[in-house]
């Protein structure tokens, strides 16, 4: 009797087994449905729309690679690409800066918890607010920047209306929350650095930069990896700040691909052209996304 019972318990009946096969799909169904309709399918559709001339109202007409040919001759496109490259490289400053701030704050003095949270503040705020704050900071008539420059006998400058400085001005604004984000990643990373290794290295006479470079940084690799990916993707995705601070101006000199696409599609009613720009942006970003996914899948396989 007892034997029979255990046997029943350990050999699941057929219905149990099939339930175990069906259950994960039932659990995933709503998420897959939403994600498929709003993320996966639109990507495929955008690829397709990029091959058409379409104003969003009347019938589409197929023009093959026409949008792309036009795009590669469009100065605004190259300005946008160049600005995105600038964003990409300058945004990476968020990593060393974030690390520097994290090292500065990684102490246990009185009130440090509150100070850490306050340093993290800019990341919590909407980019629209960050944009407004910096637009005003740079304001040529009354901005704080010019007041400060005035103190040392410089200025005034109008950062956001000078085509040579505008993108740098916006990127600086973008770095503010991004540094905060990298800082929090590194602070968490520093918490899990192995203290014994540090002590051992110190006994061996390593200190300062050497200790940081050879002992601490290797242990911070997971944090660096996340910071790197999120920062690069953030740079390529830049839209909010540019739209709020200059809307691409002056004369389109601060355009980035995301904003250029938005203008083409919604203000010039060129959906096909917009979709083509979006496709280019997507392909550029796919390189980074693929790199991230490759690392992640590899990591999963290793840990099982």
């Amino acid at each position: 009797m007892a034997v029979a019972e255990t046997a029943v318990a350990y050999v699941p009946p057929r219905s149990r087994w099939s339930q175990q096969r069906i259950a994960p799909w039932v659990f995933m169904l709503p998420a897959l449905l939403f994600f498929g309709v709003y993320v996966v399918w639109p990507i495929i559709q955008s690829f397709q729309i990029g091959l058409y001339e379409w104003d969003g109202f009347s019938d589409k007409s197929y023009i093959g690679g026409g949008n792309y040919e036009e795009l590669f001759d469009d100065d605004r496109f190259w300005t946008s690409v160049w600005n995105n490259v600038l964003w990409l490289f300058l945004f990476l400053l968020a990593l060393p800066l974030g690390l520097a701030v994290a090292l500065f704050l990684n102490q246990t003095v009185f009130g440090i918890r509150l100070i850490k949270s306050l340093f993290f503040f800019p990341f919590v705020i909407s980019q629209v607010v960050v944009g407004l704050v910096f637009a005003w900071f740079y304001d040529p008539a009354n901005g704080l920047l010019n007041e400060l420059l005035g103190l040392v006998g410089l200025g005034p400058t109008a950062i956001l209306s000078d085509e040579n400085s505008v993108t740098f001005g916006i990127i600086a604004a973008g770095l503010w929350p991004q540094v905060a984000y990298c800082m929090i990643l590194y602070l968490t990373g520093l918490n899990s650095v192995d203290p014994e290794q540090i002590e051992a290295a110190r006994l061996d006479g390593a200190r300062g930069m050497k200790l940081l470079w050879f002992v601490v940084l290797p242990q911070l690799r997971p944090a660096t990896f996340i910071a790197l990916v999120v920062t690069m993707i953030g740079a390529l995705r830049s839209f909010d700040l540019v739209q709020v601070m200059t809307d691409g101006g002056p004369f389109g000199q601060s355009l980035v691909l995301g904003l250029f696409m938005y203008h083409s599609a919604l203000f010039e009613y060129r959906m096909g052209y917009g979709a083509a720009i979006a496709t280019v942006l997507f392909l550029i970003m796919s390189v980074f996304i693929a790199f991230f996914l490759w690392r992640m899948v590899r990591g999963e396989r290793q840990t099982g």
Binding site: A9, R16, Q19, P24, F27, M28, P30, A31, F35, V37, V39, P42, I43, Q45, S46, N106, Q107, V109, L118, F121, P122, S126, V128, V129, L132, V133, F134, A141, N142, L144, E147, I184, L185, T188, L190, V193, I198, L212, V216, P222, F225, A227, V229, I233, L236, F239, L257, G258, M261, Y262, L266, M271, G274, I277, A278, L281, I289, F292, M296, V297
Partner: protein, 282 residues
């Protein structure tokens, strides 16, 4: 610990560190402090160009003005109407999907997981035209629902990543022993897994609140009337109307930033745990 604890350094270094700390903080938050000060300046101060000195008198009336003369209250309510359902919806979808990806072995598992993670990083512009068309076609364009549906779908990517990693950490034995007892798969999820992941659900909800509250792009693309616009698109539009009335723009900015900031301070631990998940592994 790295760097070396400052207590162990020389008294001079010790004191300079404690002095440098608040100075660094002030410099770091200078733009923000200026906005807060400006939001309580009088119009006279602004007209005289006193932007950066201490206000000559405090004018909290600016905050009343923005609520009286603009649809600021409406914008805030819209943001709440949009954000709260998204928070619940995407967390619920992701808890189920994350459980499936964490605890069931099937061939498509890792690829579906990669799809959720990858989808989370795509540029919004590649989704813009089809999603906007879909909203126009189904008649939800310029309603709260348009934003809610899209955000639920999009945030599900990040949430699934988060939940899947969290649930992976739960012991398999727990689920196995329930199966041996003959508990159905669905009951295992509802009565065993969900109660255990409650802290993660909270962390996630806080994060999603902030992401969605701060969204600007989709607010521009999917809605246009003041009756449905969330506060990010709202203050951006008001800025054109207020021109150089920086005291009003500042007050608006402070109000718009307040809910996520308050939430962050109330639930800081959850917030940071959410953001840094995965930063110490992988």
């Amino acid at each position: 610990m790295f760097p070396r604890p400052i207590e162990k350094a020389s008294p001079f270094a010790n004191i300079s560190y404690r002095v440098a700390l608040p100075i660094a903080l002030v410099v770091w938050l200078l733009p923000l402090a200026a906005v807060m000060l400006t939001s309580i300046r009088t119009i006279d101060d602004i007209n005289q160009g006193n932007y950066w000195t201490w206000p000559s008198s405090l004018e909290f009336w600016n905050y009343v003005t923005i609520f009286q003369t603009t649809p600021m209250a409406r914008f805030m309510i819209n943001s709440v109407i949009i954000t709260v359902p998204v928070m619940i919806g995407s967390v619920a979808l992701a808890a189920a999907a994350g459980y499936a990806l964490a605890k069931y072995k099937f061939r498509a598992n890792i690829w579906l997981f990669a799809m959720f993670v990858g989808g989370n990083f795509v540029p919004f512009q590649i989704l813009m035209i089809p999603v906007r068309d879909m909203a126009l076609f189904t008649g939800v364009y310029d309603t709260h629902l348009a934003l809610i549906l899209f955000h639920v779908a999009f945030q599900t990517g990040f949430c699934t990543l988060f939940m899947r990693n969290f649930i992976s950490g739960l012991p398999n034995a727990l689920i196995e022993s329930a199966r041996v007892e003959g508990v159905s798969e669905y009951k295992i999820f509802w009565f065993i897994v969900v109660p255990l992941v409650r802290p993660a659900l909270a962390a996630l909800a806080v994060l999603i609140f902030t992401f969605v509250w701060n969204d600007y792009f989709w607010a521009l693309v999917l809605v246009q009337s003041d009756a449905v616009k969330p506060v990010t698109a709202g203050i951006s539009a008001l800025r054109g109307q207020w021109l150089a009335s920086w005291q009003l723009i500042s007050a608006g900015a402070v109000v718009a930033a307040l809910p996520p900031v308050a939430l962050f301070f109330l639930l800081q631990r959850h917030f940071i745990a959410g953001l840094t998940l995965g930063a110490t592994k992988g």
